[in-house]
């Protein structure tokens, strides 16, 4: 499990995954920002307006997610929020990096917003756990 410090002394679980692709950053950028290309790998039906503030929706067998495009930095960074109806929202951030073998693509997904805290309430509990473990130097 990975914990990341956030403003306000809160901690959140987050997921970071990466892949190395034999393709140029330009090709990877197109594959993660073009709605037709996104349908090849992220969901069966994708509607996405790749500008900051643009709408995004993803429909697949396991349901629908929708959100808003947050960051568009050509061939470098792309981020949007998404959530299933009635569930907590997450921020999904892609980072593109040219490497000798092609392109490294990193994705980080982080729960955001008050719903994420309410769902199970594990965010404040993790913060308290960190505090309690720091308190006592016992294995």
């Amino acid at each position: 499990m990975r914990l990341r410090d956030e403003p306000g002394n809160d901690v959140a679980p987050w997921v970071e995954r990466e892949t190395l692709i034999e393709a140029t950053p330009e090709e990877v950028w197109e594959a993660i920002t073009d709605e037709d290309r996104l349908e090849e790998w992220i969901a069966e039906e994708v509607e996405l307006d790749p500008v900051e503030g643009g709408d995004a929706s993803f429909r697949s067998e396991d349901g629908e997610r929708s959100g808003t495009v947050q960051t568009v930095e050509e061939e470098e960074r792309f981020a949007f929020t998404w959530a299933r109806p009635g569930e907590g929202e997450s921020l999904v951030e892609f980072t593109i990096e040219a490497v000798p073998a092609g392109t490294r693509l990193t994705v980080v997904e982080t729960p955001i917003g008050p719903t994420a805290v309410a769902a199970g309430g594990w965010r404040p509990r993790l913060a308290r756990l960190r505090g309690s473990l720091a308190l006592a130097p016992v294995a």
Binding site: M1, R2, P13, W14, V15, R17, E18, T19, L20, I21, E22, A23, E27, V28, A31, I32, R37, E40, W41, I42, S90, L105, V107, E109, P111, A119, G120, G121, W122, R125, L126, R128, L129, G131, S132, L133, L135, A136, V138, A139
Partner: protein
Amino acid sequence: MLERLARGGTITASGIAEKLPISRQAVAKHLAALRSANLVSSERVGRETHYRLRPDPLDDAARWIQTVSAEWDHRLEALRRSLETRRGRSQ
């Protein structure tokens, strides 16, 4: 200590202190901290306090991390395949 708790059942401060090279007072202080973090529950039995792990909060976070990691591994593999297949066709 969390490992011992995770094996199930209940523990007491003196029971833990007997098995680990730390004082009963240090154990009691640590258990009290875990209880105030809502990670263990306690029950008074005679003169001893018995502690039991409450696994729910960490389970929720761990489950989320596991599910979301698997989803992204699956998607990124599909993306990689899609891009490399496309490139293979154009060469």
